[in-house]
């Protein structure tokens, strides 16, 4: 039944109308529903940060006359390298998914491990980026555009860390001998989460480099 059909049901008229088939058989798993809901929350979070970013950028500070105090940041190569690493990490998850689907344990394991390590490398790269900026005097407090940069990369990194926690548990389950079928749902969901964070990152990257 579609959503509209559900919401217009005349429930008072249907005593005993044959209850729908056992929902346990037809529903997506709780984890995948939960993950979708979580995507909504995170989208909202970054959407709000974006709004704040745009509003703050347009704020005309009195002490500067009619111009904003916003100063753009340079876009060092590391920014692009890191983004590429995150893309590779997502691809590794796809490899792992394929491995789980066709039951190739080695591909699955290699994919999972590579995905996590690449994500860790991405985070290390982001930290290196912070250090690079700081060394050149782009402190968080020096200009609002720098402040937003640290805020956005920090929030994004924390979300990735959350994903890495699930990754760690998956690796340990694989090491303990779990087979492809047992981790398939988890791998699917991890892949979806990684792609989602990649999209968020690309949008944020667009915001950062275009301003």
């Amino acid at each position: 039944m579609n959503l509209f059909g559900r919401l217009t049901e005349k429930s008072w008229e249907t005593p005993g109308a044959d209850p729908t088939a056992d929902p346990a058989l037809s529903r997506p798993s709780a984890a995948s529903v939960g993950l979708r809901v979580f995507f909504g929350i995170v989208t909202m979070l970054f959407g709000l940060v974006t709004m704040a970013y745009v509003m703050r950028m347009g704020t005309v500070a009195m002490e500067h006359g009619p111009v904003s105090d916003w100063r753009p940041m340079p876009d060092p190569p590391l920014l692009w390298i890191n983004s590429a690493i995150l893309i590779l990490s997502g691809l590794a998850w796809e490899a792992a998914r394929a491995g789980a689907r066709i039951g190739r344990g080695l591909l699955l394991f290699a994919g999972v491990v590579a995905a996590g390590l690449l994500a860790l490398l991405f985070l290390a790269g982001q930290l290196a980026l912070w250090a690079q900026y700081a060394a050149r005097g782009y402190y968080a407090a020096a200009n609002p555009s720098y402040s937003f940069f640290y805020l956005i990369t920090g929030l994004h990194g924390l979300h990735l860390l959350g994903g890495l926690y699930v990754w760690g548990r998956t690796v340990s389950r694989l090491l303990a001998g779990a087979d492809a079928g047992a981790v398939r749902v988890t791998v699917d969901l991890c892949a979806a989460y990684w792609h989602f964070l990649l999209v968020i990152w690309l949008v944020m990257l667009g915001l950062l480099i275009s301003t």
């Binding site: 559900r6 919401l7 217009t8 049901e9 005349k10 429930s11 008072w12 008229e13 249907t14 005593p15 005993g16 209850p19 729908t20 056992d22 929902p23 346990a24 529903r27 997506p28 798993s29 709780a30 984890a31 995948s32 529903v33 939960g34 993950l35 809901v37 979580f38 909504g40 929350i41 909202m44 979070l45 709000l48 940060v49 709004m51 704040a52 509003m55 703050r56 704020t59 500070a61 009195m62 002490e63 500067h64 904003s68 105090d69 968080a140 407090a141 609002p144 402040s147 805020l151 699930v166 548990r169 998956t170 988890t186 969901l189």
Partner: protein, 581 residues
């Protein structure tokens, strides 16, 4: 999402063995609900005491030396923030949401029990961090519950040293806690309903909590971002919100930040927050009225849609809190219009409650008394809200006691009355005992008449122009002696109401041990939570098999049925109802 989801699987649950596993690190939604509720009530008591202190100062100025102006500001701030966030939100969603959702939709537990448990412990941490701010040098923040920059972090605002840091940190932790809980409530409703429990067969309580949880998940991120950004302004010296400003004769390092940006973020959270508190109350009160008037809720479908529409609309009205901050007049017009539009579904709900009562078989039980009390305070607060929704009327009334009277009626007292009604209503199911009826009735009448005695005169004070958040009025020409008299009586009423709450606590505690054993379904209610095999429900709620639902939750007084209620689990056959509502 590596946690097991026990609602999916019908194998016997893993039963915790030790006392600690059962009552402390519990993953059972019922235990978590009680942990949430008790914590919320405990911190709510602190807020109540703070309001008593404020009233003492306002009613009898120059009497209490220990209340200095800065203390007054701290009381106002902590009272407001605790009441709205740490009491009402936590109690309605963390408490009632946790207890009711699985039982009312026929699940064994929340879908992510471990995350649910974490949610409580994060909430407790948030409360502890908040409480800690009373004990740091400089005390808690006195910036007002809206925490507007720049004054929030400037010298001269009480608690600008550590209090504000702890407040912001505590709010951020709260948001994390809420997100973990809310994810459970929403997913459980979407995914773990039992066989036959279609969306439109869910009781209004579940609908209210469900929509409020979605709203919370979407609105709290704004508070989270605002808190983090303000923390950075305070600790790292960024200028998200802080404009170039000189304080106490010296220039601070800030430049160019936008205080208005904070206001937008805050109210993007703050206005939906009002409905996050109100919608669960709306849902619960619908069920109280239907059960105790032995009638189906009038216009069930309309009630559900109204909840959904109110939830959606309330994301488009936030700037009505910012009329006096200045904005483009077209925006002002937009927000004033959207605000008034929300009144429509809200009014529909009120009419439907009244129509449910109309010619019902009204049992004046204590839960029903509280439900009717809610109708009074809510209609009352709604009417004064129509004044404030108009920009031109709001401007002179804003920041006066009229506003205080208005929002206490509509979002302070009204949800609290529903909460009391709900506690009395479900207490027999939660504890297996009945409370003392006489004490409960005294509690109701003193509370209900008392809140009128407190908040009605405040409207009058506001029209005189008495400002809010003022420690003392001093010698002011426009404030007549009658205002001082009113203030004294308000304070006396507040103290009496305070005392009546002690009766409530006494009743609840005493009944826990000495109350008579309760019937498993003392009110003759049709919804699922009253049909559990055990009272209080055991671990896993439903014994070996999940219940099957055959009808909606409101089959009361069906003509020809053998009882005046038909439980949702009763299969068809015999009399059903075939006429439309």
């Amino acid at each position: 999402m590596a946690t097991a989801t026990i609602a999916d699987d019908l194998r016997p649950l893993h039963h915790p063995k030790s006392w600690i596993g059962k009552y402390v690190w519990s993953q059972d939604h019922k235990v978590i609900a009680i942990q949430y509720s008790l914590t919320a009530i405990a911190i709510g008591l602190v807020a109540l005491v703070l309001s008593g202190l404020m009233r003492l100062q306002l009613g009898f100025p120059d009497t209490f030396d220990f209340i200095q102006p800065e203390n007054y500001l701290q009381y106002v701030t902590m009272h407001g923030m605790i009441m709205v966030v740490y009491l009402l939100t936590a109690l309605l969603l963390g408490g009632f949401g946790n207890y009711l959702i699985p039982l009312m939709v026929g699940a064994r537990d929340m879908v992510f029990p471990f995350v649910n448990m974490l949610s409580y412990w994060f909430y407790l941490l948030a409360v502890l961090v908040l409480v800690a701010s009373f004990f740091v040098p400089g005390g808690p923040t006195g910036a007002g519950w809206t925490l507007y920059p720049p004054q929030t972090i400037l010298e001269g605002t009480p608690g600008h040293q550590y209090g504000i840091i702890l407040m912001l940190a505590s709010l951020a932790i709260f948001v994390v806690a809420f997100t973990m809980g809310g994810l459970n409530y929403v997913t459980t409703v979407l995914q773990a309903r039992t066989k036959g429990m279609t969306l439109m067969r869910m009781p209004c309580s579940v609908w209210g909590i469900f929509v409020a949880s979605i709203m919370g998940l979407l609105a709290f991120p704004a508070l989270f971002v605002a808190c983090i950004m303000m923390l950075l302004d305070r600790l790292v010296g960024t200028s998200f919100f802080m404009p170039a400003i000189a304080s106490m004769g010296k220039e601070l390092g800030y430049e160019g930040g936008s205080p208005i940006l904070f206001q937008h973020l805050f109210w993007f959270f703050g206005h939906p927050e009002v409905y996050i508190v109100a919608l669960p109350a709306f849902g619960i009160v619908s069920d109280l009225i239907a059960v105790h008037a032995r009638k189906n809720i009038f216009g069930y479908r309309m009630m559900v849609w109204a909840i959904v529409i109110i939830g959606a609309l309330s994301f488009f009205v936030w700037a009505h809190h910012m009329y006096v901050s200045g904005m483009n007049p077209y925006f002002g017009f937009f927000f004033a219009t959207s605000t008034l539009i929300i009144a429509i579904p809200t009014a529909i709900k009120v009419y439907n409650w009244l129509l449910t009562l109309w010619r019902g078989d009204i049992h004046l039980t204590v839960p029903m008394l509280f439900a009717i009390g809610f109708l009074f305070t809510f209609i009352h607060g709604g009417l004064s809200g129509l004044f404030l929704g108009n920009v031109s009327v709001d401007v002179p009334l804003s920041d006066t006691f009229f506003v205080i009277g208005h929002f206490h009626m509509v979002m302070g007292v009204s949800p609290i009355l529903v909460i009391f009604g709900a506690i009395y209503h479900w207490y027999p199911k939660i504890t297996g005992r009945m409370w003392n009826d006489a004490l409960a009735k005294i509690h109701f009448w003193v509370t209900f008449l008392g809140v009128y005695a407190i908040f009605l005169p405040m409207h009058y004070l506001g029209m005189l122009g008495v400002p809010r958040r003022y420690f003392a009025l001093g010698e002011t020409a426009f404030i007549p002696p009658s205002a001082h008299l009113a203030n004294e009586w308000i304070t006396i009423a507040a103290l009496i109401v305070f005392a009546a709450q002690m009766l409530f606590f006494w009743n609840m505690t005493w009944s826990l041990f000495r109350g008579p054993r309760a019937d498993p379904n003392p009110w003759g209610a049709a919804s699922l939570e009253w049909q559990t095999p055990d009272t209080p429900p055991g671990h896993g709620n439903w014994g070996p098999t999940l219940p099957t639902v055959y009808r909606w939750a409101y089959d009361y007084s069906v003509p020809g049925a053998d009882r005046d209620f038909t439980p949702q689990t009763q299969p068809p056959g015999g009399a059903g109802r075939y006429h439309a509502t």
